[in-house]
Structure formats: C-alpha cells, structure tokens
Amino acid sequence: MKQDVYITDYNCVTPLGFDVSSNWDALLQGKSGVAKYKIIDSLDAFYASAIDHEKLEEEFNRNFERQDFTRLEKMFLLSLKPLIEKHTISEDTAFILSTTKGNISLLKNQTTLPEGVYLSRLAQKIADFFGFTTKPIVVSNACVSGVMAIAVAKNMIQAGRYKDAFVVAGDELSEFVISGFNSFQAIGSEPCQPYDKNRNGINIGEAAAAAYITSHPSENEKFRFKILGDSAVNDANHISGPSRTGDGLYASIKNAMTEAHVSPEQIDFISAHGTATLYNDEMEAIAFNRMELQHVPLNSMKAFYGHSLGASGLLESIISMESALHHTLLPSKNFKEMGVSHPLNIITENQTAEINYILKTASGFGGCNAAIVLEKC
C-alpha cells in the first residue's frame, strides 16, 4: 500500500502579486498581467505577462539582504521563503526545482558558459541558501515541468526516498524564449484567447511558484490536498507539433485517473493547459472528449498569466487549489466564442461551486504531456 502524499502549503510570485491572496484577489477582479512589452530591440513589442522590475526589487530587498542573485533567483527565493519559515527542512527533505530555461539570459554575448546557466548550479544555489542537505532535483520537461514536479515529489516520497519536499517552479521572460517562439510564429498578436474562435497564439509569461508536499501533514495545516494520481505520456508523434489525436494527453489523464480511482463524473474542475495556439487547444479538446470529460467545468489561466513555461503547471495547480478552498470557479479569460471542434464546458464567469476533485493537465514540446489528480481533504 502506497503512503498518501499531500500538498499542505504553497506560494507564488507573479505579475499579479507576490503572495497567493493578492493573486486570488486580482484574479477575482479579472485582472491580467498581459500587456505590450518591448523585449527585443529589433522587433516590435510583444504581448507578454511581466513582473514589474522595480516592485520585484523592492519586495526582494524587504525580505533578503544578499544581492548576488539573478532576477529569476530572486523570484525563486521570494516564492519559497514563507514556506521555509513554516516547515522544517530535514535530511529527508527533497528540493525539487522545475524550469525550462533557468538563467538562460546570462548566456547573451558570452563566449564560454557562465556557471549560472547550468540548471543544477542554479538549483544548488537556492538549496544552499535555505540549507537543504539532499541533492537538488531539476525537472526539465518543457512546458509540463511544473505539473511533473508535483508528480516527482509524490513518487519519490512514495519510493521511500524522502519524507517531504519543497517544490519550486519558475521561468522568466527572456529574449531567448521570445525570439524562439516568435520564429515558430506561435506568439499571438493580441492578448491570448484560449479555446476561442479567434485565438492566434500564446503570450509568454513569467512567474515563480512553490509548494510544500509531505507524507506527514501536521495537525496545524490550514488545508490538505492529496495527490491521488499522476502520469506523463509522450505523443510519439512530433517534436514541436501537438498530436492530432490527443493520444499522449488522453493516456496521461487516463493513467492519472486510474491511479487515483476517480471516474470522469467525479472530476469537479479541469485546470487545462490552453495556450491559445490553434493546434494545442484543438488537441486538448479531442483528448478531453475521448476521456468523456467534456461536461466538466474547465479553464485556462494563460490569459491571466501568459504561458510561464516551467512555472505554469505548478502556478495553475496552486490557483486550482485556491479555487477549491474558495468554492469559486474562475473563468477562462478572453474566451468568447467556441473555437475547437469538440465540445468543452469552458467557464465564462466567476461562479460558486463545490470542488473536491481537480484534474490538472499540461502539454509541451517534445510531445510531452502530464496530468495529475488532486483531492481536497
């Protein structure tokens, strides 16, 4: 019998706020971090979701004295700090970091690799700062990394390797990533519109998020979400294009729900990936229908936060859990008219609901997909 593993605490640092409650308030008011930003000198401004630089510096200086950190590292430190203050780090505590590109901005105009661009160095620096003694684990599976990081914590605790884990996920806006998605013509010309008829691409975002995951929750925890099941199945179809059949996402959801012993009727809410590219959203609609989940209320958070790559899966899981605690479903912002060929129950306004079982999904380059099922306890 596998032991139960719970998420009992979390935090996030996003363009909408530097803690969970400020984020939640902003989301209830329908605020978005997406605006036009000049990121690459030679190109026009892009719609993206950015953290205000001065506010971030101010918040960091209020909380930390040391200054030898990159912007992304400051986001990681700020997101982790309140969790570290509440939960003890032991020799059985894992430190799991999810990111796609880490400090990639350090690479600009370099002739050799700066130490800081190594993801394991980045993770070690954060781990050392807070005094973790186990070796950091970096999860780098493109855009599913944040969801997978939760699954990795669960699986490694169940393997008996750790008792608990701090999971942190983050990526920042960079010329590197924006230029790359732009070369794919994947960036939307307007604030993104997941699942909408007029969607035409993603907005890149930046954020950091952190969660405390344990097999031994204390009596004093304000909430508990049990991680019931997880899976990450590859499409085996194309390295940069979503599957036409949704095979990998379908299989990931199916595996996760089978492990969770949860049926489609029991799922109360789906926090989907919904990047607002034509093919991704269509693929998701196919996969959800194959799983008979088309009636379940669903949203994408991308029009609030943009696509924060390695952070997105954890950030969106956290907002899902907040939804459950507040008995409130949030709308899929900017969605107006159905734009996928299979039916979905897309949430269009704030609404009250009892949420006990959450399905969180993600998909990304390399044909990867991930799904987890969470239960409010």
Partner: protein, 192 residues
C-alpha cells in the same frame, strides 16, 4: 552479460536487462565494443555510427547532438522489439546547453539576427526523449531530470515507481550528457 539484481528500500526487485555506453568515439553494449571510430568530432562519430548500425532513419540527420547521442544509445537497446510499454527516464548535467549556446549565437547581434525554429526546438533537454519515442512509437511515461552528476539510485527509484504502479513494463533509463565535444551516454533497460 548476466542480469544484475539489487534490492531497493521497498521489497520489489528490478532487473537490468541490457546496457549501452557511448564515449570516446566508442559504443559498448553489455561490455562488448560494437562500434569504434577514429573520428575526433562528435558529429563525424555520430555519422559513422549511424551508418555502421544500418539505421536508415533520415530524421537522424536533423537532430541536435544531444538527441543523436541519446538516439544512438537507445537504438542499440530497443532494436525492433515491441516497446509500446517501455517508459523513458533520462538525466544529464548540461541540459540542452550545447544547442542553447548555438541558438544564442544566432540572436546575439541585431545585424546577424537569424533565430531558427529548427534550432530553437532543440533548446529543451527532453526533445531527445521525444525523438526516441517517435522512432519506436512509444506512447509511454517519460521524464527528463537535470542533476549535477549521474545518480543511478535516484533514476532507478523513479523508474521503480513507474513499474510498480503498472504505468510501464520496462524503463529505458540512464544518463545522456553532452556539451560540445564532451559526451557520455550510459543507458540501460530495467524491468521488475
């Protein structure tokens, strides 16, 4: 090679069926050198290995170096068998920095600003897992970790969770590290 057995913290045993090591322009399968080249550059070594293994998979030539390394190692172990229930769990130290560096060069200056989608897509370490999955139609569990050094216990513990939960019957597991001309693959197949 005799299967290696070991016992992990929780009851179940795992078997290591076959293993492949690629380094210093050599491919070693189960302790036997199956290919060796005088080539000094990884790109030449990979091309020669591709021919020697009779791979006949033109997509190989479009892959970045990390994917070629991982792909070659996987080919020696997966062959033509049915791998519809074989998961992939890989790790390395340098992530996709080899291609990241090349991509960054293409956007460093405004005068020579030529970002290429074909290069950008390889700026993620898990792409090599996708390439292997496509070749062998493996719609299976996959994960890529970045670790400071090869940690077989960690990868095996993670693989064991996949096997014990019934999410796969085998796991193609291992270390696929490459940065410029420095590379090493050590990949093996695990079952319960």
């Amino acid at each position: 090679m005799q299967p290696l057995y070991w016992k992990n913290a929780n009851v179940e045993f795992m078997k290591k069926i076959n293993s492949c090591t690629i380094e210093h322009s050599k491919i070693i399968v189960n302790d036997e050198v199956i290919f060796e080249s005088q080539a000094e550059l990884f790109s030449d070594f990979a091309k020669e290995a591709y021919k020697s293994l009779h791979l006949n998979y033109p997509k190989f030539h479009k892959m970045d170096h990390l994917s070629k390394l991982a792909f070659l190692a996987a080919e020696t172990l997966l062959q033509e068998d049915d791998h519809s229930s074989t998961a992939i769990v890989f790790a390395n130290r340098s992530s996709s920095l080899d291609t990241d560096f090349k991509y960054q060069e293409s956007i460093n200056s405004q005068e020579n600003y030529f970002p290429s989608p074909a290069v950008f897509v390889y700026t993620l370490p898990n792409i090599c897992v996708g390439e292997i999955s496509i070749k062998h139609h493996m719609q299976t569990e996959n994960a890529f970790f970045v670790l400071d050094e090869f940690d077989e216990d960690f990868l095996n513990d993670y693989s064991r969770q996949i096997l014990e939960s019934g999410k796969a019957e085998k796991v193609l597991c291992g270390w696929t590290e490459l940065y410029q001309e420095s590379y090493k693959a050590f990949v093996y197949l695990l079952t319960l």
